[in-house]
Structure formats: C-alpha cells, structure tokens
C-alpha cells in the first residue's frame, strides 16, 4: 500500500470508530439535557451489543439483530430510568449498578447461549455502503462516503437531535426540566413523562451503538468489546457542551484515538513495535482525561443534572 492509501484507510477507520461514540453521545446529550446523568450507558451499550448479536446469530437476519439491540438498549436504560425517575435513587450509583448487572447478564447468558465455550462468529455483517457518485470523490469519498449505514444514520441524527432540543416543544420542556424540574412541574410539565421519553430515545440510540460494534465493526461478541465506550461517550457530552454538534466533533476526535491504538501494529516498525503498539491501548483513555482537564472546567451543564427530584 502506498502512503496515501494507508492514510485514507486510516482516516476512514477513524470515522468508523467515531460511529458508536456519536450514537451513544447523542442519546446521552438528550437525557442529560433533561437533568439525568446516565452512567449506566456503559452497561446499556454492552447489552445492546449482546442482544443484537444474539438476535442476528439465531435468526440469521441482521435487521432482527438491529431490532433486538434496540430493545436490549431500551430495556437497560428504562430499568435505570425506573430507579432514578420513579424511585429517585442516586443516579451515579444506580448507573454503576446497571453496569455491573449488565456485565453479569452478558457473561452469564453468553455461556447459556453458547455452552461449548469459545467465541461464536457471524458470517455476515452490515458492510460499508458506498454512496453512488459521492464515494467516487478522491480522498473524501472513500473516507466519508464508504461507511456502514450506521454512520449515515448517526450523521443525519446530529441536526435532527439539534432540532429536537432547540426547536420543538418537547425540546423546550426537556431543557426546562433539566434546568429546574420543580419549576417545570409548577408550569404543568409532566417531568416523569419527559424524562422517560428521553430515556427511551437514548436506549434506542445506545442499542444501535452496541449493534454497530457486534454487527458491523466486529463479527463476534466479547464482553470487552464495548468496555469504556460508554464512559468516553459521557465525557464527549461534557466536552461537547451538551450540544449535538459538539458530540460530533468529540466523537471524531476520540474515534481517531481509538483507531490509532487499534492500528498501532500496522504503523509501527522495528524491535519495539509490538511493545509500543500495546502501550497505545491507553491512548483513548489518556486523551479523554487530558481533554477533560483542558476543556472540562469551563463546561457548564444543565443546572439540575444529576440532582434528585422527588415529585411533591
């Protein structure tokens, strides 16, 4: 491969890695705008990846996998929602509980579904879709217009979520609930209904993010495939200032660091190559931490974010 081909392939990979982060951080943006901090997104993405894989594996139809992934994601996020909206339990700890629960469910049912051990594989995947004409554009075409359908969906969702938050009645209510649920409730907004709606939306998006990992990016399921993605998505929401456009930029940046750590072995040569390549696995996490130091402090989120709210 020539330098340019490698560079193009790498850039395309950055965009691909950004995809699940974008889907998840869009969902988290919506939920956090309504004042809910969902750290259980990590576990919900795992369940989405797992249920999507099971659906596709046992029916042989990828689209069924997509559906089961969304159901799995919605179920996980709604369980979290019941804990924090209905019972007003601590949001941080409830999120952590969902993550532990999700990893238990995935580990357990992976072996229930495949008792033989080893890792099952899918023979079919959501392949990249070359957009007619546009994919022929030099350099940009293969990078942006030859991606799995998930990517186009995520890109289209950026303005849609933006419109939803800033230009619709739902968005106005969502934002007022996120700023002060008590006052929102006084003026007649059904706080619980708004929050549940946002959580269902997030569940679907996070489920899709999980499905992308097992049905397009990799062809197998392992509980480690989505590890850390949820927390990186939450960090992207902070750095993106709770704005869908910010989520897009953040996802591309962090997707690139993941692609870099994934591609390490291909780029590095010499006796230290394998050592350095392994060291690169910390890159996405270190980048996120550094970015939080640089950009996190000026970031001001919805006033009621993470705060308990008991209906009076």
């Amino acid at each position: 491969m020539t330098g340019l081909t490698i560079a193009i392939a790498f850039a395309a990979s950055c965009v691909t890695f950004a995809c699940p982060l974008l889907l998840a951080s869009l969902g988290e943006t919506v939920v956090e705008r309504g004042g809910i901090l969902n750290l259980g997104i990590e576990g919900a993405m795992l369940i989405g990846a797992f249920s999507g894989f099971l659906g596709a594996y046992f029916t042989g139809v990828l689209w069924v996998g997509l559906l089961t992934a969304m159901i799995g994601g919605i179920a996980s996020v709604l369980l979290f929602g019941v804990l924090v909206v209905r019972f007003n339990l601590d949001q941080v700890v409830s999120g952590l509980a969902i993550n532990l629960l999700a990893s238990g469910v995935a580990l357990y049912f992976l072996r229930v579904a495949f008792p033989g051990g080893g890792y099952p594989h899918l023979n079919f995947l959501f392949q990249p879709f070359a957009v007619p004409l546009l994919s022929q554009i030099p350099v940009v075409g293969p990078i942006v217009f030859n991606q799995p359908g998930f990517f186009y969906l995520a890109i289209v969702l950026v303005p849609i979520v933006f419109y939803l938050i800033y230009r619709t009645t739902f968005g106005l209510r969502l934002r007022s609930v996120g700023e002060d649920p008590r006052i929102a409730s006084y003026v007649g907004i059904n706080v619980s209904r708004i929050r549940y709606t946002s959580l269902v939306l997030e569940g679907a998006l996070v489920g899709l993010a999980g499905a992308f990992v097992t049905l397009s990016q990799f062809n197998t399921f392992d509980t480690r495939l989505t590890t850390g993605l949820g927390f990186i998505a939450v960090s992207i929401v902070i750095l993106g200032r709770w704005n869908p456009a910010g989520a897009l930029i953040g996802s591309l940046i962090f997707g690139s660091t993941e692609a870099l750590s994934f591609w390490g072995t291909a780029f590095l040569t010499g006796p230290q190559a394998s050592s350095l390549a392994q060291l690169l696995t910390i890159l996405p996490y270190v980048t996120t931490l550094v970015a939080l130091v640089v950009g996190g402090r000026m970031s001001k989120g919805p006033s009621a974010l993470g705060a308990p709210y008991a209906k009076e």
């Binding site: 901090l37 750290l39 804990l83 019972f87 007003n88 339990l89 601590d90 949001q91 941080v92 700890v93 409830s94 952590l96 509980a97 969902i98 993550n99 532990l100 629960l101 999700a102 990893s103 238990g104 469910v105 995935a106 580990l107 357990y108 049912f109 992976l110 072996r111 229930v112 590890t227 850390g228 927390f231 990186i232 939450v234 960090s235 902070i238 050592s275 392994q278 060291l279 696995t281 910390i282 996490y285 270190v286 996120t288 931490l289 939080l292 130091v293 996190g296 402090r297 970031s299 001001k300 989120g301 006033s303 009621a304 974010l305 993470g306 705060a307 308990p308 008991a310």
Partner: protein, 384 residues
C-alpha cells in the same frame, strides 16, 4: 485554605456533572447521627434489617438465572453457601478472599461517606501492587523489602487517586468519570510493564519477576493460604478506619461534607481538603489490597491480578452503610459469594457472571431499601 478557595469548591462542584447532594435516604440514611451508644440501637437495628432485606431480595432475583438454566435455586444456593462457609478449609479460603475486598471497601467507605464516588479502586489496586512488588524485587532478599513495598504500595495507590482528586477539587471535574477511565490506564499500563520492561525472564505468560522470600507474607495457619495480610486487614486496617471515622474530627468532617456541603462550608470545614484526603486514603487502602494479594497469594504481578475487587468494594461499602463494622460483615458475605459461585459452577455447570449480577442487583436493593423498609413498616411487618 481561606474562605475564597472554599467558595470556589462550591462553584466548581456544580457545573460539569458534579452530582448534587442526594437525599440522605438514598445511601446512608443515618449517616448524620452520631454513632449511638448501644450496640443495637433502634436505628442500627433498622439498618441491619435493611441490609438483610437487600441481600434476601438480591438472592431471590438472582435465582431467576438458575431457573432459566434449569437448575433448582435452592440446590444452587446450598452449593453456594457450602462452598463459602461449609467447612473449615472453605471458611478459611473465604477469609483469604475477604482480605483484598475488606481493604478496598474500607477505603471506599471513607470516600462514599463524603459522597465522593471513587470507582477507581481497581486501578489504584493495580498501581499499588505493581509499585510495591517492584520495590521488593528491586531490594531483593533484605529485611527492608517488605516494609518498603508497603510504603510504596500506599504511595502508589494514593498517587493514582490524587490525580482524579486534584481534577475534582481544582477543576470541578466529576470524579466518577475520571476514576473509572483511570482504571483502564492503570490496568493497561501494568499489563504493559509486566509484558515488556519488567517481564519475568522465566515465566511463559506475561508477569513480573517473583518477589523475594523476605517480602512474602508469612502464613499464619499452617497448610492454608491464611497470610499475614488478612490479620493486618482485621487487626490494623479495620480498627484504624473505625477510629478515623468515629473518633476523629476528620471523620466528623467526612460526614458533614457528605450530608451537606453547604453547611460544611459555612461551618468552616475545608470541603476541598476533605474530599482530597478521602480520595487518596481510599487509594492507599486499594494499593495495599493489591500488594497483599501479590505478597500473600500470587508472588508476582500478573495481568489477572484482580477479578474486579475494586468494583466489588463499591457494593460492599454500600451494603455496609459505609460503616466499618457493616463493611466487615458485607465483605465477608461477598467473599463468600465469590467462592460459593465457583462451587456452584463446578457442581451445576453454571456459567460465570453470577458474581457481577448479584453485585448489581444488591446495589439496586441497597439503594432502594429505604423505600422497601417504609413499605414494610406501613404494612406492619416491622414496627415504626
């Protein structure tokens, strides 16, 4: 620090996701009350009921897993409790398992008491273990190896926790995200260290060199794995943390900051300093947990050092109500779940994952136990 810096804590704590103070009912219902005189005061009895109800409900929900796979839950729990507490050697193994969990959760109890959600104990454990073990390996067979390794493990865990602690107190960045992300950095770093620069020249798998004999913890009960670290956990760490939380002004500050940071600020408590100290103390204890696993059980640093003790500590601290005695009982219980689940897997061919599942369900019920208790009191099951 003066009034001005304290005021900044408040402003820097509210943006960027800092969880606002939660109602006391959520996690530590009687945290504000001074430790009561009687051993079984009403409020303490009530917390014991709540913990027992949480455990019972968690086991009931988990039995769904067994039913799905066609196993009888009662048989499964028989194997679980037999494998955990059934005979002397199982019981001793459960105490061996309890040691790292107790160290981690005692520290997390301190952090959680002031509502600092350190979920980075796993990483602090790895860093402490690695630094301590490499210190012992560096010093070789000298009497200094053991004490020096302990100091370095404490400093390692503290230092690793100090990074998110500074990010929280100086920049107001949510510690939940930073401590969690730093787990990956720690585990990947230690994995890299023992795979490349510090790899053992003799072992087949990536692991550090073996620690010198002088740094191996003595076995206290012959023919078992009951090592000195367990005694240190029970006879030194536990009383020290109890003393710190119950008898010192720091313990008092922890409670006030956790219950009401506004009041703490007006009462002249340095909120930032309290949060910082709580985080690094919990890091130090996590570092010790890792070191004693290496020096008492494994004898070299492996990539599979901990099966998630850092996360188990979260469930334990919450179940124990962030109280050292409660934490002791809960860590014994969860150590039993770990070992008992192994026995269930052997006897009934059950898949792994039970431990994480129980922990998740347990945390949910512990959080919701105040609701459940009030419900039962309304129904007259318990006296109000």
């Amino acid at each position: 620090m003066g009034q001005e810096t304290q005021a900044q804590t408040q402003t820097s704590a509210s943006p960027a996701l800092a969880p606002a103070p939660t109602p006391s009912s959520a996690t530590a219902p009687d945290a504000a009350q001074p430790l009561s005189r009687g051993i079984l005061s009403r409020s303490r009895l009530r917390s014991i009921y709540k913990a027992a109800i949480s455990i019972l409900l968690a086991l009931v929900v988990t039995s769904v897993l067994f039913i799905i796979t066609g196993a009888n839950p009662l048989v499964a729990y028989y194997y679980m409790f037999y494998g955990a507490f059934g005979n002397t050697s199982f019981l001793i193994e459960t105490l061996v398992r309890m040691s790292p969990i107790l160290f981690v959760s005692l520290g997390l109890g301190i952090a959680f008491k002031c509502k600092v959600w350190n979920i980075g104990a796993e990483g602090q454990l790895y860093i402490g273990a690695f630094l301590g073990a490499e210190t012992a390996i560096f010093l070789g067979n000298s009497p200094l190896a053991l004490p020096a390794s302990i100091v370095l493990a404490i400093l390692g865990g503290m230092g690793w926790a100090a990074i998110p602690a500074l990010m929280k107190t100086q920049l107001g960045i949510n510690e939940v995200i930073t401590t969690f992300l730093m787990n990956f950095v720690a585990i990947d770093l230690v994995t890299w260290f023992v795979s490349y620069p510090f790899r053992s020249t003799t072992a087949d798998f990536p692991q550090s060199a073996t620690i010198p004999a002088s740094a191996m913890l003595p076995i206290l009960i012959p023919h078992t794995r009951f090592h000195l670290g367990i005694a240190i956990a029970l006879l030194a760490a536990l009383p020290l943390v109890y003393f710190l939380m119950a008898k010192t002004t720091f313990g008092y500050k922890l409670r006030v900051v956790g219950e009401n940071p506004e009041a703490a600020k007006y009462g002249g408590i340095n909120v930032k300093k309290t949060i910082f100290l709580a985080l690094i103390i919990s890091g130090a204890l996590a570092g010790l947990a890792g070191l004693f696993e290496v020096e008492g059980i494994q004898f070299s640093v492996m990539t599979s050092l901990s099966p998630g003790y850092g996360y188990t500590g979260i469930a334990v601290a919450l179940l124990g109500g962030n109280n050292p005695i409660g934490i002791l009982l809960s860590s014994f219980f969860l150590a039993g779940i770990y070992n008992g689940s192994v026995n269930v897997s052997i006897q009934l061919g059950q898949p792994s994952g039970i431990v994480s599942f129980i922990q998740g369900v347990l945390i949910i019920f512990v959080l919701g136990s105040e609701y459940i208790m009030r419900f039962l009191e309304r129904k007259g099951v318990f006296k109000r």
